[in-house]
């Protein structure tokens, strides 16, 4: 910080202030242009999704509707299709995330002890899963043999323990200060108490990061759903959205008693369903930002 102010001071001395200003504006505009490509599509979708049916004309370009309406949202949120998909997504996300975090953290803590018997071998076996995967068909047959077809655990368990996560968590645990653990050991603190009462409270920021990662990846689960689920009423929200956007008649997907076609244009319905599906991600995203700032993410990305 001080170095920056020194530089600033010096440049103003040399009379570079004006050119520096122009430079900052140009850089700022370029970045604003890049960032707006990430934000504007959402704004467009959100605005159209609130357009009233009477103000909507298909195929005509406009950015600001003459009349607003939440009709599309009421129809979607009341539809049986949405409720089924929401149930599936919530189950996969909120049952999967704790399993995911516990499995990864437990295994990582175990491997962080260097004097563990067989630790090296287990470490190698974990790493190997990062290098080589059996492939789609063997995985599919495996899930079938385990009787998990049409079971949401088929979407939860295969991704619940990942070599990369275990390795990042492991290096985090082995960098924790050893004195606390040693002192606790002298006081007769057992392994489990040590893990839950000393190690985990020290790792909250890291755990929060991986919890958010798990939440997002389960919420975004799409392929494992179309692979392992056959019952259409069990499909999660990503599949629901994909169907709504890509089918010509959406009333079957929305699944509601009223006749949709006369009420709300399909396009508005489609955009509203995208907003509904992406909404939870947008809600937890600010919390994730907080943890980028803590630097955990950088360490994680660097591996």
């Amino acid at each position: 910080m001080t170095q920056k102010t020194i530089v600033k001071h010096r440049s103003s001395h040399l009379g570079m202030h004006a050119s520096e200003r122009i430079y900052q504006v140009i850089i700022g505009l370029l970045l604003a242009l890049i960032a707006s490509t990430m934000i504007l599509p959402f704004l467009y979708v959100i605005i159209i999704s609130f357009t009233d049916a009477t103000a909507y004309v298909s195929g005509v370009f406009y950015l600001w509707p003459k009349k607003w309406s939440t009709e599309a949202y009421t129809l979607i949120l009341r539809g049986q299709g949405f409720l089924n998909a929401l149930k599936a997504s919530c189950f996969i996300t909120f049952v999967g995330t704790p399993i995911n975090v516990c499995a990864n953290a437990g295994l990582a803590y175990m491997l962080s002890k260097d004097d563990l018997v067989g630790g090296k071998l287990i470490n190698r076996l974990v790493m190997f899963t990062m290098l080589f995967g059996a492939g789609m068909i063997p995985n599919f047959i495996n899930i079938r043999n385990l009787g998990l077809i049409n079971n949401w655990f088929a979407n939860i368990l295969p991704g619940a323990c990942g070599a990369w996560t275990v390795m990042v968590m492991k290096s985090f645990f082995s960098e924790l200060p050893k004195d606390l653990e040693e002192a606790a050991e002298v006081d007769g603190c057992g392994t489990l108490r040590m893990f839950f009462q000393i190690v985990l409270p020290l790792s909250l920021a890291m755990l929060a990061t991986f919890t958010l990662f798990a939440l997002v990846s389960y919420w975004n689960c799409y392929f494992s759903a179309i692979m392992y689920l056959t019952d259409t009423t069990k499909m999660p929200l990503q599949v629901y959205l994909q169907k709504i956007v890509l089918t010509t008649d959406i009333s079957e997907v929305v699944d509601i008693q009223d006749d949709l076609r006369n009420k709300v244009p399909q396009e508005v319905m489609r955009m509203a369903s995208l907003v509904v599906v992406v909404f939870p991600i947008l809600c937890i995203y600010p919390f994730m930002q907080k943890y980028f700032a803590k630097g955990v993410m950088v360490g994680a990305v660097k591996g």
Partner: protein, 314 residues
């Protein structure tokens, strides 16, 4: 991850039995993770035998007849195989061309003085990484589809004729690459921002005193200093050259652009999973070929990285 060999400790290690007893609860903590890996990563590997059998679900894995390398021979004589390989390489090569994008973004972000503005921009550019491909493809549809797409609405409003972008074989790769950059550029810039943050600020000060311009500072200080990171990322990217983002390709496929987007996983999914068990052996062989090649690529690229004194991933 390369683990640094610990110096042999002065205190003698206790015997295996005492260590086992001491760590009994530790194994319990690691058990769920180990079981998950065993059941969902190692157990499926047994089914790879299918690639060397004429698998019959009624006979099972143990009683199906062995046929040696029959399926691999069929694979290497299959015109479709070369089409899939070629498509994969084309998509990978095109996305390799966009490799500098996150570096440029990181350089731009680094030049911003206002911390608040920088953070706002970062918030926006990291967001797409957390969106599913379903969302990204839906957004693409809303922008590019023939009747409802925003781009076509603008074209029509300005007196042009609507185009069917999503069904156009000549630009489908362009769309795919733009989607990937859009989704990944912000997230990809984090690693370069970290590398830039690690550069000694005195270098810039000295250069500034010598009258170096901004551009000279970037070209002669920032870029050389982050070059090791760039090299590692580039080499690691080469390791995944035989893989494409499968969910993206599957969602973007339609009847008209099918031949351009036929890649291994899409073929395996459509012919193996969707059309029943008759093709299990052949599609497993295709998957195995891909797994083996990408494993070799990862090992080789990782060797290159570590032998140059840098930290690899294994």
């Amino acid at each position: 991850m390369t683990t640094i060999q610990k110096q042999p400790s002065i205190i003698r290690r206790s015997s295996i039995r005492t260590r086992l007893r001491k760590h009994a609860w530790l194994y319990l903590l690691g058990l769920p993770g180990m079981l998950i890996l065993l059941f969902f990563n190692y157990l499926p590997m047994g089914s790879l035998i299918m690639a060397f059998q004429d698998y019959d679900p009624w006979k099972g894995l143990l009683n199906s007849p062995f046929v040696g390398f029959k399926h691999f021979e069929r694979l290497f004589n299959d015109k479709k195989f070369y089409l899939m390989l070629w498509n994969t390489l084309k998509i990978s090569f095109l996305s390799l061309l966009t490799f500098p994008a996150p570096i440029i973004l990181a350089l731009l972000l680094n030049e911003v003085r206002s911390a608040a503005y920088k953070k706002t921009i970062q918030t926006a550019v990291y967001l797409p990484h957390f969106l599913s491909w379903t969302i990204v493809v839906s957004l693409t549809f809303f922008l590019l589809s023939s009747e409802q797409g925003l781009v076509n609405k603008i074209i029509v409003a300005t007196g042009g004729k609507a185009r069917r972008f999503l069904f156009d074989k000549s630009i489908i790769y362009l769309i795919i690459v733009i989607q990937s950059v859009w989704k990944g550029v912000g997230w990809g810039s984090i690693v370069y921002l970290a590398a830039i943050a690690g550069i000694d600020q005195q270098l810039y000060e000295a250069a500034r005193l010598d009258g170096a311009s901004k551009l000279q500072c970037i070209l002669h200080i920032t870029l050389p200093c982050i070059l090791p990171t760039v090299a590692v990322m580039l080499i690691l990217k080469m390791g995944s050259i035989i893989s494409v983002d499968f969910e993206q390709v599957l969602l973007m496929t339609n009847a008209l652009v099918k031949e351009k987007l036929e890649v291994f996983e899409v073929f395996i999914y459509q012919n193996g999973v969707k059309s029943g068990s008759t093709q299990f052996s052949y599609t497993t062989a295709i998957g195995m070929f891909k797994s083996v090649v990408s494993t070799i690529l990862v090992i080789v690229t990782n060797k290159i990285v570590t032998s140059n004194g840098m930290r690899g991933i294994i």
